[in-house]
Each structure stands twice: as C-alpha cells, then as structure tokens.
C-alpha cells in the first residue's frame, strides 16, 4: 500500500533530521520553561516610593514604614526626581503642606503607589473607614500567565510544524527532482499529498501529549474542558495549516522561495494572533482582521477549552473558520499545484 509507505517514509525522514525533532518537540518545551519561569506568579511586592527630604519628611517616612505594602526611603529633591524618572520609585511624596504626590498616571504601578501611600498617610492621621470590609484571597484555576501561554504555544507549534513540515518538505522534494521521479511511477498524486496530511495528524498525537503533559507536570497547567474537544480543535487547526502549507508549496520551485513565503504567512499571525499576550490589546479597527486569522481562531478555541472549560457550542465559530480555511486551501492548492 503506497499511502502507508509514503507516510512511513515521511515519518522516518522526520525523525532522522535532528533539527526537525528539535523545533517540533524540544523547542516548545524550552519556550514553556523559559516563559513559565520568567512570568511565574510571585507574592505581591511592596511598592517603592520616595519621600522628598524637607520639613516633616521624617515623620512621613515613619508613618509609611508602618505599612508593609510600601517601601519608602527619604531622598533629596534632585535624587527623588531621578529615581522617579528611572523607575526605581513609582511615586515621590512631599510632606508639604499641602501633601503632594508626583507620579506618572500612565504607569499602573504609580497609580497603585499613590493609592496605597495615600491610604497609609490618611490612616496614620487618624482616618476611620466608614465601611468595614474583609478580604478573601482566591486563585482561579486557568488564570495564571502560564495557563494563558500554554494554549498559545500549542497553537504556534501546530502552525509552524504544519507550515515547515508540509510546505518546506514538498518544495524540497520538487527542487531535488524527486517529485518528477515519483511522477514517473504509477504513484497516485493524491496519495502523495495525503501522506503529508496523515503525517501531521500522526504528529499531533505526539505533540499534544508532550506539551500538555510537560505543562501539567512542571507548572500544574490543566485542561478545564473536555479533552476530546481539545483534540478535535487541535486536529482542525493542524488540518488548516497543512492546507495552507500545501498552498504555499503549490508553485515554489526552490526552498529559499518557500522559506520566504512560510515566514511571510507566519509572521503576522505570530505577532497578532495572541500567542504571548491577548490579541485584544490591538486597536479595535484591527480586530476583525485579527479574528479572521486562522491562528487566532485556533488559539482562542484552545484557550476557551483549556482555561474556561468551554463546550462545543462556544468554540463552534472558530472551529468552523478552521474547517473553511482547510477546505478552501486544499481546493486552491490542488488547482495550483506545480507537478512538473
């Protein structure tokens, strides 16, 4: 059966290419470790504030030292300004009167520092809160950065291994005239193309457990929703990127052109689709275009299932988009494919 042999051949060639194995399996894990460590959740740190040296500064500093949420030091006016500019302190307080807060309101930690310092100063001066409140500290599952990151990396991995694994390999086969040699046999063209799609599906069966298993063991990242739905979404994503890979490979005759095209297709999605930070940070005018990108659809659906425990109905829209992209890209690629 030549489809089996073709798929087996693809599999052998992949595992004999150390760089391919690295980028597909090792790199996503390294990236998860690096980002997971860099953005790990830490206990809240005290805000840094400077008290401007002058009349009443010592008493003010003393009052602030009472509050564990604030780390205050007394600095000369010039030094205090420099520290604020350099970001070493978030706020400069002058005892006044009147009491004066100098800070940059566009910096979130400065606004936080202003609120905390003001709270401490007012309490020290005898303010009594008219409403009493108690705090309940909770950690929502799936709300950490690593929980956000893992589905993003999974989507990224599905995209890049699809693009390189399909597009680059096909163009290489064409460039080496191996495609021509294969066409001189009774091999069926459809089986040749199908072997790439099969390979992607097989790989998903390996990629998913490796990345998800690692994220669970190392960072306790878990899947809130149905695992079957997650696999289905990943499957549709892999199919869509196999189709796009096929389309990219349809005409290119050398691997340099193919690499250029692959990067051209992947780079916008790499930046815009919300792999590392939420795509909602981009301006509203860009949102419709960003929503239409297949990687955005894939990552949104993966995140919804993994972090929010979303059901099939909630991911129907992105799943449909992926299915349409798959069908359209396959159909176009088959029409445009350069066999000889």
């Amino acid at each position: 059966m030549s489809l089996v042999e073709l798929t087996l051949t693809r599999l052998r060639l992949f595992f004999r290419e150390p760089s391919a194995v690295f980028w597909t399996f090792i790199f996503p894990i390294l990236l998860t470790i690096a980002l997971g460590v860099a953005f790990r959740n830490r206990p809240p740190e005290p805000v840094a504030a400077a008290v401007e040296e002058g009349q009443g500064s010592a008493a003010l500093a003393l009052a602030l030292a009472e509050d564990p949420r604030i780390e205050a030091r007394v600095l000369g006016p010039r030094e205090a300004r420099a520290a604020l500019r350099a970001g070493r302190v978030a706020l400069v307080v002058s005892a006044g009167p009147p009491l004066r807060y100098a800070f940059d309101p566009t910096r979130p930690e400065s606004r936080l520092a202003r609120a905390l310092v003001d709270d401490a100063v007012q309490r020290a001066a005898g303010r009594v809160d008219p409403v009493s409140a108690v705090e309940a500290k909770v950690v929502e599952p799936g709300a950490r950065y690593i929980d956000f990151l893992v589905p993003g990396l999974l989507g990224l991995n599905i995209m890049s291994s699809g693009m390189w694994g399909v597009a680059f390999v096909i163009v290489e086969t064409r460039q080496k005239k191996l495609l021509k040699r294969l066409l001189a046999t009774p091999m069926r063209r459809g089986e040749f193309l199908l072997s790439f799609v099969f390979l992607r599906m097989l790989f998903l069966v390996l990629e998913l457990p490796v990345l998800l298993g690692f994220a669970r063991l190392a960072f306790g990242v878990s899947v809130q929703g149905s695992l079957a739905l997650l696999v289905l979404v990943a499957f549709l994503g892999a199919l869509a990127f196999a189709g796009i890979g096929l389309l990219v490979a349809a005409r290119a005759t050398n691997t340099q052109t193919a690499s250029g095209l692959i990067n051209l297709v992947m780079m916008p999605m790499f930046l815009l689709s919300g792999v590392f930070f939420s795509a909602t940070h981009f301006p509203a005018v860009m949102q419709p275009a960003i929503r239409a990108l297949p990687l955005t659809a894939l990552i949104d659906a993966l995140r919804a299932v993994m972090n929010e425990g979303a059901g099939a109905a909630a991911v129907a829209r992105p799943a449909l988009l992926l299915a349409v992209v798959s069908l359209a890209s396959f159909a176009l690629a088959l029409r445009a494919f350069r066999w000889s």
Binding site: L178, R181, L182, T185
Partner: protein
Amino acid sequence: MSENLAIRCRGLVKRYEEVVAVDGLDLEVLRGECFGLLGPNGAGKTSTLEVLEGLIAPTAGEVEVLGRSWGRHERELRERLGITLQETRLPEKLTVLEIVELFRSFYERGRAVEEIIALVALEEKRRVWYEKLSGGQKQRLAVACALVGDPQLLFLDEPTTGLDPQSRRQLWDVVLGLKAEGRTVLLTTHYMDEAERLCDRVAIVDRGRVIALGTPRELIARVAGHAVVEFAVDGALLDEAALGALPGARGLRRTPGGFALTVDRVHVAVPALLAHLEASRAPLERLSTHSATLEDVFVTLTGRRLRE
C-alpha cells in the same frame, strides 16, 4: 502500429519559449532491443526521452509507447515502464532497502525487493543511507528503482555520466543482463564506447533531429570508414581534394593539429598518403591510425566533436 515496435514517434517537436529542443524527430525502437540516443549535450536527447516517458508534453508530433498513447493510457503505461532521470536526488536519510520498498509500493505487480537489490549488487548496502553511497552505487540504486515494477521498457538517461570506469562497467553488466531477459532499453549517452558496447542500434541526434541511424558497426562502416589516419605536416600547402581521393581513402577533414583521413583499407591508403606527401615535399611531422568509432561518425557528420 506494428506489433514488434516498443516506441514509435513521428515529427516530434518540443519548443521551450525561444529554444527548439526537438525539431521534427522520428524514431522507432523495436521490442527487445537496446537502443541508444547519442549526441552532445543540448542535442535534445533528454527532451525526447521525457516526452516519450510522458513527463513533458510535446509541442507537436505523435508518440506511441508499447502501442499506447500517454493521453489515454497513462496509468497502464506507468505500470509497464521503468525510468531513471538524469538527475534525481533520492532522500539522503533513507536506506537502500527503504527506498526500493517505497518504489515497489507504487506498482501493482513487480519483483521482490531483495531480488532487485541483488540484481544491482547492492546487498551489502541494504541498510546504508543514500547519502553514504558512492556515485556508482547511487546510480545502480536509481536503476533498481526503475526495475521494481518489472518493466517491459526501460528508459535510462545518461546512466553512467560522471562515474569511474569500474562503476561504469558494473552498470553495463546490469544493462546487458536486462537485455538478455528480453526487455527493451532506450538509453542516452555521450560516451561512444558505451553505445558500441551496449546498443543494438543507435540514433545520432544533433540539434533536435536524428542525423544517422543504424547498428554501431553499420554507421561506422558507412560514415567513417574502417579506420582514421591522423597526420600533420610541416607548413606546406596540401591538395586536400587529391588527398581525399587517394586509393583506399574516403575523405579528408581538418583537425585542430592537422588532418584526419578516413580510410577503408589502411594498408593501401597509408603508402599512397606517404607517396603523395613525398611528392608534395611536405615533411611528415606525425602519423597515427586508429579504428573508426562512433565519435568519428559524429565528427564526420557534424564537423564538431561530441563533448565540446
């Protein structure tokens, strides 16, 4: 079409934008023969072959292969043909066995993989990656891939180009074995010794046309005579027409360092030549003779050498 023809093509033309690669070529290859297409690089051999192999479409002309046409019987033909291309790089990191198995899987019927590997003498390299094979071994593997479907007709495009003499001889043995089994082989080459050794008939191709056709012996005898006498004289002007008409001679042509006289009877022509030069007061600088080859046929017909 006659039952005993493996290939028939009439008025074949292949044009690439500005270049005419094949310019009205006619060809008939008999079943069971080894037929050689000879010619310099760029003569149109490979384009002809690729049209016959159904890999490129002709601009004009009729092609029949094994009594079938490419338009209607592609799959059937693919099952019955074996092909090696001039340059194919098989996957570097597959073993000989894996590559032959892959090619075997494309054919409905064919020969056992191990048998094919033995046929091209690669048993010891079965588990070796393609990238570790020598040029000759790679070429024999390419032939193995062409043989897995048990083809009736084989196309070999420059099977020994770039190989060392020992590898060439090993590949010749493979081709002679195929011929002995009654398969039809069409090969291209620019090595005349290869054509003389392997081919029952040859067609000399130049600028996209067949300029001579026959068995190697016939062609040599008809066009180039039996031998070639090469000589050079010191300066003097020679009567070239008279030299070409000497007893036992066929004709004279200039060569880069002197002249070449094609002769039918060396023992008659050489004394006559010496006498003529003596009479013309042209002192002889050197003189040598060799049996005529297909190379001489080509040079006689075109005035150019094959591998220029």
